[in-house]
Symmetry: C2
Subunit: 410 residues, 2 copies
């Protein structure tokens, strides 16, 4: 039920339409693709995905926002905005945004602001990360630059999230089996997603007995180091042009109806709580208020499950489940098809993959596609299409210092 929005409490943001979306084929260890290849794939891929009637006119794109965390280190290439602009004949102005693993959703916000200012009417947001030219130990070290170098250096992200997991297990009795249930469910979901890094089912036992990374987190609790790119085209117009001059109507395109962006201390040591991400709670509150919705209205969400414990924190902090009950709810099947709320149908970061800069854009791209076309679900005898009205994307930087929540409407 859509409620009356309190306009005074959260400033109004005009709704922006997602008129095209794309995820690179596929996320994974893409040794045959360079950073530039992945950028090109997303730019030209999303231009094809606006309409079934033909390619979108690239000149409609007035600016590009590119999300990436660490191409300066992984690929010796900074200044990525210039890399993407020169793919267009008209060289649209472009800006790169970084906020660790939240880079994608922060780029979304900068694009939304430019649209809402009236300066542009149609823009592209592109996320990319090409990580596997480094070995994964080195990649883990690069990623640790998203934590507090002065106070946490030496802690990898598995170690930081292991602390959060331990605290949650201690306070709420969250179990090893419940953590594993997140991974099992997300790997099962990834089977429905041709873009996923992994396409393999695991059992609770296999996850619980996978090799230890940082106690209690094991290999199958951790999202992988992936390559990939993603893009969306956002517009405040009612229609756009295809290359052949035809018009594409945006009437039935999904909209962004709510957004929240909140920050917390960078280092875990300074946080008020280790069993909640306060920035998720604040960002969600703002996003729901703006959308005039509550967590009960959301039928499907992509949440930031960089580790299994992160999904449990997210589904509690977003208000889908009472604090401390997220693990059991997952084990009970409440976050998969037929449950209370469908969490990470793409497979999430865990099984769809986590090319860092691409992740926040991919969440929105995946959900936009889902709202537009529904998702095919196998029943005993046939396939049926599930449709959704509202969807939520939840993107986290570091161990929770930056959180962005977007709410989409069909």
């Amino acid at each position: 039920m859509k409620k009356q929005t309190d306009k005074n409490a959260v400033r109004e943001i005009k709704s922006v339409k997602i008129v095209g979306s794309f995820i690179s084929d596929h996320f994974g260890e893409l040794w045959d693709k360079s950073l530039n290849d992945l950028i090109k794939e997303a730019v030209f891929g999303v231009l094809k995905n606006v309409s079934k009637d033909g390619d979108f006119d690239p000149k409609e794109i007035e600016a590009v926002y590119i999300a990436n965390m660490a191409s300066g280190i992984f690929n010796n290439q900074l200044h990525l905005n210039a890399v993407v602009s020169e793919l267009f004949e008209h060289f649209p102005p472009s800006i790169r945004v970084e906020g660790a693993c939240a880079s994608g959703s922060l780029a979304m916000i900068t694009a939304q602001d430019a649209l809402n200012s009236g300066r542009y009417k149609t823009v592209m947001v592109l996320g990319v990360e090409k990580m596997t030219d480094f070995n994964s130990n080195e990649a883990t070290k690069v990623l640790s630059s998203a934590s507090d170098y002065n106070f946490e250096y030496g802690s990898t992200f598995p170690a930081l999230y292991a602390l959060l997991a331990k605290a949650h297990m201690h306070k709420y009795g969250t179990t090893r089996e419940q953590l594993s249930a997140v991974s099992v469910k997300n790997h099962a979901h990834a089977l429905t997603n041709s873009k996923a890094h992994f396409n393999k089912l695991f059992t609770l036992e296999q996850v619980s007995q996978s090799s230890m990374v940082a106690d209690p987190l094991r290999l199958l609790d951790c999202s992988p180091v992936s390559d990939g790119s993603s893009a969306v085209i956002l517009s405040t117009k009612d229609s756009g042009k295809l290359l052949d001059g035809k018009t594409v109507n945006y009437k039935n395109k999904p909209k962004i109806i709510g957004m929240g962006h909140a920050q917390d201390f960078l280092s875990l040591a300074n946080r008020k709580s280790l069993t909640s991400l306060n920035a998720t709670i604040k960002a969600a509150k703002d996003a729901f208020k703006q959308a005039g919705l509550t967590s009960k209205d959301i039928e499907v969400a992509e949440v930031h499950d960089c580790f299994t414990i992160a999904e449990i924190l997210a589904i509690e902090d977003l208000g889908f489940f009472k604090k401390g009950t997220g693990g059991q709810a997952t084990l009970d099947g409440q976050t998969t098809f037929g449950g209370k709320v469908l969490i990470n149908p793409s497979g999430g970061l865990k099984a769809c993959g986590h090319p860092v800069g691409a992740t926040g854009v991919k969440q929105v791209a995946y959900l936009a596609e889902l709202l537009e076309n529904g998702i095919k679900v196998k029943t005993d005898r046939s396939k049926k299409i599930m449709n959704f009205k509202y969807a939520l994307a939840h993107n986290v930087g570091g161990s929770g210092a930056t959180v962005v929540v977007h709410i989409l409407e069909k």
Copy 2:
């Protein structure tokens, strides 16, 4: 003379006031200051600089935009937005922007868009780079990630700008002495600026005979590797609050009245011309149109003189001097006090220093201060204050693939 703006040609942008500005004391090799120290210095410094009557209320700052090029490499710290947010009790939402040496002006644009969208009314823009923990050879290698890794890798920026210098000398007869005149003038200007990296006069001969870096560019043609930070507070409000509850009126604060942002090919090999930066020409055209001004109206400008040739290109491409005559104009004293247009009174990147992420913000901070208070100039017997009505900031990424021009009004 302010002309009628063509509203249809360039979309209108509401004017944003620069209500506070700060440059770290000073730019240079600051071995006693860390990246975090420089960020803190800028945040608390700019809060002090809004009013002489007391400190600005930090809660007025609704969001922070931070510009930085390569802290992930120089300082093992990405996710800088979180580093800056936690300095405020209310954790304002924050975003980091990168576009090589144009990071600062791109962060300005993201902030302006957020203000113009109506989402925020007062925000902070902060630029920082802490480079000297690396030795300068390594820093030069890091900076080369702003060029095209696939096509130019191995070329340092002195080498790329040396190509531009050679082309300009070949086509227009620009001389060694004219290049030196840029450096001599900017070092002289830096003597008026207590924040400058260098405070030393050089002669034409000293510059022309300094050690060779990349023919024809010599050591004193090149901007230094500097540490530093800078910040501005931007607002669309008419007044703000000080910590003690007093009101500060923004009536006489300088305004941003024009902005242009343009892109070109990343690699020099693809460019149409080596004797102009086309992105400067495009960005300036848009900025002037928006401001309803022409280059003739501008009395003072901070331009991107990463190398002496870059200033000559800039003053021609911005329309201050006819193409090919910028070198001679500089030698003739047309770009210093008493000349046609005052270029780089701060000393520019060459002599004030070039802490990359800070530079674009520093240009605006310096000019805002100049518009508000004028600049003290020594005459034979006394000091007089020169005042200005319009000022221009010109910030370049890489060898010209990204250019932003801002026009300010007193």
